[in-house]
């Protein structure tokens, strides 16, 4: 082998280009002004974090005996009263569900979480997943209602807390999403009746606030029903949420459909694919993956909007938190409760957001050269 054939070995890049030191230099201290701003911000962050640790950990009271909140009140705001969470966490999570039966509501929350995790994994994306969903949702229904398998019957009025939020959000989006796809496709239909129906639905529902829909569902809807027939309040709220979310999601999906070039439809037609096969294999897979960010944005919005059911007296997570501090002994500890409730909402929403970013990257791999 001649000398010229020996390639010059690659050397690691100088320390000023890579590594954490280089990152800090390039991003935080690239000049006088940016360095100054970085220092000020750093100071504020550290000060705030130390303050929070002092309030939330060092000075905090974690539990009090028999609702005697004097220890908390003596803090005068210099420390957190986490005792309110220790005391009320079951109420926040399960509402007024009977105490001895709360393991059933807890199990339901676990099943929901398991369902989300399984559904998020692409290796489980097969037809059997639909059966898993049906099985899981049935199991949750049996657990929550009871009345069979030796479980005591628990009326729906006593359900509450996180379970209600998860039920409203999961059933809501599980039905609203397919509905929205049908409506979005219907809006592009060549049949005028179907098109008109879909346009009217979307415009009507989008034109009113969710609150008024919920009021209608709880107050007006029963007026139209025959005497003696009564649909569960939760179910009515659920339907209102599904209809509302469906209209918004339909517009997002329609946006995706519009980005698809006409050639894709023509190529599918020319190959002889039927309308539904064309839609299922060519149109939706491309349209939906383009709108993952706005879809998830809407999902997250609706997850939080389920809290509006409080106005028709349904006991969701936020209402449960609010109710927990009505009791005189615990009045004044709203910050701790709302921080906790907010943290629970944040966990779910942040998980959705991160997951959607991964999904987007993975599903749009074909766009990368």
């Amino acid at each position: 082998m001649s000398d010229a054939a020996i390639p010059t070995p690659a050397r690691p890049a100088p320390i000023t280009l890579v590594g954490p030191i280089a990152w800090v230099r390039n991003n935080l201290f690239s000049g006088w002004i940016s360095g100054l701003i970085s220092l000020v911000l750093l100071f504020l962050i550290v000060k705030w974090a130390l303050g929070f640790i002092e309030w939330g950990v060092i000075n905090a009271v974690w539990s009090v005996p028999n609702n005697q909140t004097q220890a908390c009140r003596d803090l005068r705001g210099t420390g957190a009263c986490w005792a309110v969470i220790t005391e009320k966490h079951r109420f926040i999570l399960f509402g007024t569900y009977p105490y001895e039966e709360q393991w059933r509501a807890f199990l339901s929350i676990l099943i929901f979480s398991g369902l989300f995790i399984v559904s998020a994994m692409r290796s489980f994306w097969r037809k059997e997943l639909a059966l898993v969903w049906i099985g899981a949702l049935t199991a949750i229904g049996v657990l929550m209602w009871g009345g069979v398998l030796g479980l005591n019957y628990v009326p729906q009025e006593r359900w509450g807390g996180l379970v209600i939020t998860l039920i409203l959000a999961t059933f809501g989006l599980a039905f609203a999403f397919p509905l929205s796809i049908l409506v979005a496709l219907g809006r592009r239909s060549r049949l005028p009746a179907i098109k008109a129906l879909c346009v009217i639905y979307v415009e009507l529902i989008r034109g009113v606030p969710l609150i008024s829909l919920l009021f209608m569902a709880s107050v007006m809807f029963p007026l139209f029903l025959p005497e003696g027939m009564n649909i569960d309040k939760l179910l009515r709220a659920q339907i209102a949420i599904i209809l509302f979310a469906g209209a918004y999601l339909a517009e997002v999906v329609r946006g995706g459909l519009q980005t698809l070039p006409r050639g894709q439809y023509e190529a599918a037609d020319a190959l002889g694919l039927s309308y539904w096969k064309k839609t299922g294999f060519i149109v939706l897979p491309q349209a939906l993956r383009l709108v993952i960010p706005p879809l998830v944005n809407t999902f997250i919005g609706f997850f939080k909007d389920t809290s509006l059911v409080l106005i028709i007296g349904i006991f969701d997570l936020l209402t449960a938190g609010k109710t927990a501090i009505i009791e005189p002994a615990w009045q004044g500890f709203g910050i701790e409760v709302y921080l906790t409730v907010g943290f629970i909402y944040f966990c779910f929403c942040f998980a959705m957001s991160r997951y959607s970013q991964n999904l987007e990257a993975e599903l749009n791999r074909h766009r990368v050269r």
Partner: protein, 261 residues
């Protein structure tokens, strides 16, 4: 003149029944009359090249043949089936007629192999393994079997168009339609696509190609049809059409594309 047309058509494949029959077809886009009394028979195994200035209705004509566009007057029969609103007739025709577009129109979210197997599996109900074997066979014929696992976006234009041809062939069509398959390609890629089309022509496939590639037309076409402003102005064997144009419109067109090349 109509006598010579008939003579030419029958000379191509005298014994075979026509694969495509157009009889006084008229089409309008809104108020614009884009096909005017177009009558044309394409024999089984015939290779027809359609040329004409831009906007003369060539795309509309071949898109009517597989009913991507509907015509308003006259009749079109493909493989003996009358094109109408009947959905079963439509299904049958789409299975028999393959189409290749100017802009490839591959499905970007599917791999090359999936592009080729989708329709055989879901329209022809072929088992997956069989469809994949068939697809590989056609990908080899268009000389890109090694790209099967890639996505369309990773391929050059010429490669994509060859995949599009393979995809159409996987449906085992009796008739292939090409709408300016090389117009969107860089010059160095035109050749590889034309080679594939020539080899396809050698298999005896019935082909209708809209193209301005005169070399290709001379090499494989049994007949060249010249369209202008929605009507067929002149037709005949490539030598006759290119060497002895009779109408001024064709002479003008030929001088223009010769200047362009």
């Amino acid at each position: 003149m109509s006598n010579t047309m008939e003579a030419v058509a029958s000379a191509a494949r005298a014994d075979a029944p026509p694969a495509i029959m157009l009889d006084k077809v008229n089409k309008w886009y809104g108020a614009m009359h884009v096909l005017r009394d177009v009558s044309l028979n394409v024999a089984l195994g015939e290779r027809l090249v359609v040329c004409g200035p831009s906007g003369s209705g060539k795309s509309t004509l071949i898109r009517c043949i597989n009913r991507l566009e509907t015509h308003q007057e006259g009749s079109i029969k493909v493989d003996g089936i009358e094109l109408s609103d009947d959905l079963r007739a439509l299904d049958a025709i789409r299975r028999e007629v393959g189409m290749v577009f100017q802009s490839f129109n591959l499905f970007p979210h599917l791999t090359i192999l999936e592009n080729c197997t989708l329709a055989p599996i879901w329209v022809r109900h072929m088992p997956k393994a069989e469809a994949e074997a068939l697809a590989m066979q056609y990908l080899e014929r268009v000389k890109i079997p090694e790209q099967a696992k890639k996505y369309p976006g990773q391929l050059s234009g010429g490669q994509q168009q060859r995949v599009a041809i393979a995809r159409a062939l996987c449906m085992k069509p009796k008739i292939m339609l090409f709408d300016e398959p090389t117009s969107a390609l860089d010059p160095e890629m035109i050749k590889e696509v034309l080679e594939v089309m020539v080899s396809l022509a050698e298999t005896g496939m019935t082909m209708v190609c809209v193209t301005h590639e005169m070399g290709f037309a001379r090499q494989v076409a049994d007949r060249v049809v010249f369209m202008d402003r929605g009507e067929i102005v002149e037709q005949g064997p490539p030598g006759e059409i290119f060497e002895n144009p009779r109408t001024d419109r064709l002479k003008l067109f030929l001088s223009q594309i010769l200047r362009g090349h």
